[in-house]
Amino acid sequence: MRNISLSIVILGVGLLASNLSAAGGAACGNYLSEDGLTKGECDKAYVDATDKPSLQRGAQIYMNYCLGCHSLKYARYKKVSEDLEIPLDMFKDNLIFGDQKMGDLIQVGMDPKEAKEWFGNTPPDLTLEAGLRGPDWVYTYLKSFYIDESRPLGVNNKVYENVGMPHVLVDLQGTPQSVCRQVSFVAENGGIRQDPLTGERLTQEQCGFLEVEAGTGQLNPEEFDEAMLDLTNFLAYMTDPMKTERESIGTYTLLYLFIFTMLSYLLYREFKKDLH
């Protein structure tokens, strides 16, 4: 009975745990994958809190392109400079605008009421955005702007339909268009439909792919993706700035507990001998 009940409990916990992935991260709206096979699935953002150069590049993009509207109001400049190993003077000269101090929280100068008038909504604070939506969502969102003349600001986003935000990174990326392409028919079992006589692949038109007009941006598509990954990495760091410190302390704590548990086991074993 003991074994049966134990296995039921384990099974139940497993059932709950299997739901883990469903709990985290938001789906990516109308985002179409590069091969046109999946819609609404985010691209994977491989964030790495130990990659300091990537975090530094991400901070640079953030301070130059995002901070005009989006605060990081729970974080302080000083801690960012320390964590990202950016020398104090360099940080002050290049990444702080206006008369803010190193110990200040990272605020924006814009008046929230005016911002609401301009964009329809106050631009949200982004300190915890990567925690709220997941890094994959942030990464995919950043790559999903496209020209849409029907919108007030002339742009739309595949991940966040009818978003109020302009495409601030247009200088870097260039002008992205939503285009149609001929793609193969793919059955659910993965088979590709072919012409029975010629054996040629049959295609159909599918719309919603994003294509950047060549030569309109400072970065080529690969470089832009790389830059957005850096920015996502920076936002993931923002949500959880203590990750590296936490995991290092955690490792020592676990080591200590392993030794403690081993010794307490030996003690337990000694006393157990008395009982039989």
């Binding site: 009975m1 009940s5 409990v9 709990a23 985290g24 729970y74 302390i249 955690g250 490792t251 403690f260």
Partner: protein, 412 residues
Amino acid sequence: MVTKLMNWFDDRLPLTATIERHLTKYPAPINMNIWYLAGVLLVVVLVIQLASGIWLLMNYEPTAEGAFASIQYIMRDVQYGYIIRYMHTTGASAFFALIFLHMFRGMMYGSYQKPRELLWVLGWITYLLLCMLGFTGYVLPWGQMSFWAAQVIMSLFGSIPYIGEDLLTWIRGDYLISGITLTRLFAFHVVLLPLALIAVVFVHILALHEVGSNNPDGVDVKKFKDEDGVPLDTKPFFPYDITHDLYAIGVFLIFFVAIMFFYPDGGGYVIEYVNYEAADNLKTPEHIVPSWYYTPYYAMLRAITFPVLGLSAKFLGFVVMAAGIAIFVALPWLDRSPVKSIKYKGFYSKFFLTLFVISFFVLGYLGSVASTPLGTLLAQFFTVTYFSYFLLMPIYTKYETCKPVPDRIQLS
């Protein structure tokens, strides 16, 4: 010197006698198994929660304007503040995981039966207090999920016929969830409920030491005693149980610390992702999901989709949910079996207990996902099977055939 000091105290306070009675010489049955660890681990978690809670309190700001920012202040600017907070959030989940195991142990081995009815009732009260502590504590970070969970749970009181609306306003202290609601929940969470919890746990342990621990065989160890009056099939708590418990605490802390440092969100179960956004009373989150430890009861609440005799579905769901938590207290009087342990009970007891566990987990799962027509149907079915364990108990325990119980503990 030490002896003299002890004598000085013993003349003024039953110090040695108390220590011997409750710790060093407390007789524990020799066949206690892994299920008996949940109790001592619960005490460990209680201490963790009290200690981390006091330190959180030093920097938390209980106002609607400042609460969310003060949590981030603890996470970023307070030295090791994030460790203290993660200790408290992981501790909350551990508390419930352990109390469920502890209660299940009692159900499995009939630990609620005579003479342990009061012990069981006291334990049930600690479970109630824990539910309230969990709810009030969950609201304090004042994130989106805090706010909307409070909204949903409190609105249940509004569904009570006639007095509902007025009662709801009285409980909230306002016409909607506001800073006033936050401060009163804060007062309950940090003063009233912990005080009550400590007091009830203390009496729970007193009662345990009065009647003695049950054991997996459910036999009465006090029937056979040696010449000193110590039950034969027991071992003294010190040093045999304490070394055993120390080892168990070590293993438990390894898991606890692993979650705390490496997986503090627990995949959205320990800390929900929606709570990364500050409370906003104009923006409802897509799915409002309670913490995992309430999901079985949340599923029951949602399972009732039809009004009966003019009572609204919401009110009936509330009643069913409350009954699901309350019914545990009736167990000592529902069980008519001549034997305690599931080992010697008949087929039906085993069947219904298994059904209960399966229902609990399925309801827990259903309560954590968005509701669908099939999900509602399943939730209704498993709500019925959940209650059948309790409500049919007087019948199946009375008429089933049990195995004979040995006089003394049989060690295999």
